[in-house]
Symmetry: C2
Subunit: 342 residues, 2 copies
DNA sequence: CCTTGCAATGACAACGCTATCATTGCACTG
DNA sequence: CAGTGCAATGATAGCGTTGTCATTGCAAGG
């Protein structure tokens, strides 16, 4: 005779398939099939079972289901930040792509910390996701190895400047920085300043910066003044750092910003300080945020398409859930927005 | 002799506890204990097992673990939107509260749609979360029933104007609307306009609106002009609707906005149209977003503390993971920010 | 009336881990 | 040196589903 130990003394009185099956006078299998809409079921049976489901308030346990079917229906998403609006925008694209699918996203935030990213990825993989969508291509070796060995689809989004583990969806930030330089040079600017944030932690901002500098150098130009700060982007920092730059440097014609938040702050400084934009000082951002377009003078910037990046990343997975032999890259591009500040 | 069917022909060659145990010459139990840091383990054994873990690249399967321990370590989070920056801010607070815990958040978005919320909640509960943090107190009956019957902690955040299922953490939006009215009346304004979004879908914006109107009415005043729009908040809408309102209404002294996004748009309109703020037209927002503070004139508004709301919501759960007998309310308050636009 | 074929349902072993109880071995104690 | 206590480890039955195979019952066909 079996021991029948009480596994957990305070067992939650959870309703299980068996409870439903008993009430509806069918087997567990039938209930399971009905809940999953899978296989042939007589109408009468379906009705009877659904009544039992409602009567008992049965909610299938996806944890057990995932274990049994070896399919969690989860898509892991790793982003560096929630306070930088671009990532919620990507998440919207991801959710849009996932809508109508039976898959669900699980989001983790790394705070731009690669060690934290490693922890976060390990925890994510423990949930046996069908794919991982992760921002950027810069990871610790251990992270990269885990992602690679998982065998599932790994979509690295936002940037395509580095060789991906599996697939990269985004834009070239080096190219974007270079394009900004060429555009501004073509518009006659020669004396450049730079205002940025994130120091070394925001790799993509850094790549744009590098692209900008390199292209300026090729034209015999340079950044005559820069003000960088640590931590998160903010309009406030953009404002303060622009004030700082104006105080320090003479004769700067145009300031390039790491992104639109900072640039908006720059414009606010100019408005408050009575600096005429773009005549006295021109401003150029990056991202093409909505707010930039609504400013009294539309912000000159480069538009990236975050929503599309998220959506496209999901599509890649949905179109081929199995990792292909060779890595690939999808360039979602970018677009210079003329605006009125540069 | 057992049948030993091959469950899944294409079995992923996953590494399991047993593989690790075999390599390290210990039992499954010991590996499990080591992975969970639970129970007494000899140093030598721990080292040997961890080596095996590394050698095999073992990642514990939390789905199996959750099923066995009947604890998913998940906290479900339901929010209406990602594009309204306030919700990512709450998420940050939630993540902050969860940091250092072994719990993980799972986020679902409803797009301000109560039917979608019902689906989303059902899917969330299927993952057997230890708690659900959900924005707002307005749900379908079915949603409310599911949440209630789950027996787990249900923290409704953002608003405390309705009786909660279990616990509500946030502020009274009716009171905030009323406070705005009193503040502006005290500052001498008599002729009010309103610019809002979300129609009926953003219940909290609606409550602020109601609080405002009621209090104005008590003072014998009313909203002389209003412009409402559907869908998501945006600076652009605030700008356009303010232009609209200015074109339509004469003699309005102050415009109250459903929130800061819209108000910032309003200020941009005034800047572009040469309307002097607050002399010709005063503006008053809601939320206390960072950007409002950095404007050339700081936006007059009411600060709510989204980060704190998220953090507090998590704390409630962590402090008592079991649902108490009686519902409760935690008022995180709000604060009028004088600013320079009203 | 006996096959065939198929729609409908049932039985039961996985899935990978952990809670529980059982066992081992060794340092002390008296 | 038997007895005691405890640190360390092992064995195993679930956890609630689902995939697979088996079975049932009934209509159609000869």
């Amino acid at each position: 005779m079996a021991k029948q130990r009480q596994r957990l003394s305070d067992r939650k009185s959870k309703v299980t398939v068996s409870d439903v099956a008993r009430l509806a006078q069918v087997s567990d299998s039938t209930v399971s099939r009905i809940m999953r809409n899978h296989g042939l079921i007589a109408d009468a049976t379906r009705t009877r079972v659904m009544e039992a489901v409602r009567a008992l308030g049965y909610v299938p346990n996806r944890i057990a289901g995932s274990l049994a079917s070896l399919d969690s229906r989860l898509v892991g998403v790793v982003i560096p930040s929630l306070s930088n609006i671009v990532f919620p925008e990507v998440l919207q694209g991801i959710n849009a792509g996932l809508a109508g699918t039976n898959r669900q996203s699980v989001i983790s935030v790394t705070d731009y910390d690669l060690d934290k990213e490693e922890v976060v990825v390990r925890n994510l993989l423990a949930w046996q996701p069908a794919a991982v969508l992760i921002a950027g291509s810069t990871h610790t070796d251990a992270t990269r190895k885990m992602l690679d060995q998982s065998g599932i689809r790994i979509i690295e989004f936002m940037e395509i400047d580095h060789p991906p583990i599996d697939m990269a969806v985004g834009l070239s930030h080096v190219a974007a920085g270079a394009a900004a330089a060429r555009h501004l040079i073509a518009r006659g600017y020669r004396r450049f300043g730079y205002v940025g944030y994130g120091g070394t932690s925001d790799v993509r901002a850094r790549m744009r910066y590098d692209g900008l500098r390199t292209t300026l150098a090729q034209a015999g130009l340079s950044l005559e003044a820069e003000v960088m700060s640590d931590g998160q982007t903010s309009v406030g920092k953009g404002k303060a750092q622009t004030a700082d730059l104006c105080a320090r440097a003479r004769g700067i014609e145009v300031v390039v910003y790491s992104n639109d938040d900072m640039a908006v702050g720059g414009l606010f400084h100019c408005l408050a300080a009575g600096i005429r934009v773009p005549d006295e000082l021109a401003l150029f951002g990056f991202n093409g945020l909505d707010i930039g377009r609504e400013l009294p003078q539309p912000l000159s910037t480069i538009r990236s398409n975050r929503f599309k990046i998220g959506q496209r990343a999901v599509e890649v997975f949905l179109e081929s859930p199995i990792r292909p032999d060779a890595p690939g890259i999808i360039d979602t591009g970018f677009e210079i927005f003329q605006g009125a500040t540069a």
